[in-house]
Amino acid sequence: MSRYTPAAKVNEQITWKDIAPGGEVYEGGTSALVNTGDWRTMIPAFIAENCKHCMLCVPVCPDSSIPVKDGKRLDFDFMHCKGCGICWKVCRFEAITFGKEAK
């Protein structure tokens, strides 16, 4: 039987003996380990006091980067947010601002 190296431990030093046959992954959602936040040139900001938690911004996010907990949206998941601005555009309450990312 093959040994399985979890995605979190896979790196470019892995040998053929430890890599999963066929490139299978026996876990869900391992892409969460990947930082796509560094793709951003623009960045949204969450102005919590303006937010009415209407939730319209949540489903339009291509990167599943607006977490929701107990019926409230939380601050952005900046590890994955790519800074597209779709959420900013749909917000009717000025709870999201959008500007150049300071690097």
Binding site: W39, V60, H80, C84
Partner: protein, 310 residues
């Protein structure tokens, strides 16, 4: 049960961040919308045709999918999921599985309208209990914006460029939703992203929970290929619907139903002018092209309305 966005968002997210789709891409928005229609207790096996979505969401060892996922090739998402579904039926019959699974295949317009059309048609005709979802971005975006049979007339694509003699793609867009409806399957629908995603959600839920084969055609704009600013996603979708370029409707057991009727049908220019792929239409002397598109949209909209009234 009435649609309540807040309740829907309380469900666990089934598509993780960290995938490699472009910033502002419509495809993952479509995927999230469809997966949210799954009941949380149900499991799913999801297939995808080769394309942007597939190469970006499952790059070894990183899968964005919380559910089981299979990719095999470009032209066979329908057949691949057929096989998974057939196996499920047997294993369930033999008592080897007790969970309830749903089967979803995703494909772009390349993998759906064109190279995967045969496999899709076969899967639909055979009536597997599955949903095929096309995220239609109207060109082969994965290989660099080449025209597809879904690319609208006159659009500029890299294999149908607007030149001094040929003004973009010469042919009409294929009406795949109607073609699949002609397969006489239990459920077919056309949708896109509108405000709270109610239309997409309700159609996805029907598609998933109607026994047998179902097809969803989701207009999923591509900021790179359509040449608009990424933040405009929802505005572009809204204009597609309000101009009747992309009408929202469903076909339930052969019954055609309009699910949205614009109060004030907007001229197609409003939709076209937002997108760089149509910029040549607005050059002096090309007014006829816009008129041509308007005429075609009007005719199709009227035909659809008649069909939905009948």
């Amino acid at each position: 049960m009435a649609y309540n966005l807040k309740e829907e968002l309380a469900k666990p997210e089934r598509l993780s961040g960290g995938h490699r789709m472009c910033a502002g891409c419509g495809a993952p928005v479509a995927v999230r919308g469809v997966l949210r229609a799954l009941e949380p207790e149900d499991k799913a096996v999801i297939g995808s045709a080769t394309g942007c979505l597939e190469v970006s969401t499952f790059l070894y060892p990183y899968t964005a999918w919380q559910d089981s996922f299979i990719h095999t090739a470009f032209e066979n998402a329908g057949a691949t999921i057929s096989g998974v579904e057939a196996c499920y039926k047997v294993l369930k019959k033999k008592g080897k599985i007790d969970d309830t699974y749903k089967f979803i295949a995703f494909g772009g317009d390349g993998g759906t309208y064109d190279i995967g059309f045969q496999s899709l048609s076969g899967a639909m005709e055979r009536g597997h209990d599955m949903v095929y979802v096309c995220y239609d971005n109207e060109a082969y975006m994965n290989t660099g914006i080449q025209r597809s049979s879904s690319t609208p007339k006159f659009a500029d694509a890299t294999t149908s460029p607007a030149g001094s003699v040929v003004p973009g793609k010469p042919q009409n867009k294929k009406n795949l939703t109607e073609v699949i409806a002609a397969h006489n399957i239990p459920y077919v629908a056309q949708t896109t992203f509108i405000s709270s995603m109610k239309d997409l959600h309700e159609k996805a839920h029907k598609a998933l929970y109607t026994p047998g084969a179902a097809f969803l055609n989701v207009l999923a704009p591509c900021p790179r290929g359509w040449r608009y600013s990424p933040e405009e996603l929802m505005e572009i979708c809204k204009l597609a619907v309000e101009t009747c370029v992309w009408p929202l409707y469903e076909v339930i057991e052969g019954k055609w139903v309009l699910t949205y009727q614009p109060k004030n049908k907007l001229p197609v220019e409003d939709y076209l002018k937002k997108q760089g792929r149509f910029s040549h239409l607005f050059r002096k002397g090309n007014e006829w092209m816009i008129a041509d598109i308007q005429k075609s949209v009007d005719q199709k909209w009227e035909a659809l309305r008649t069909r939905c009234q009948g």
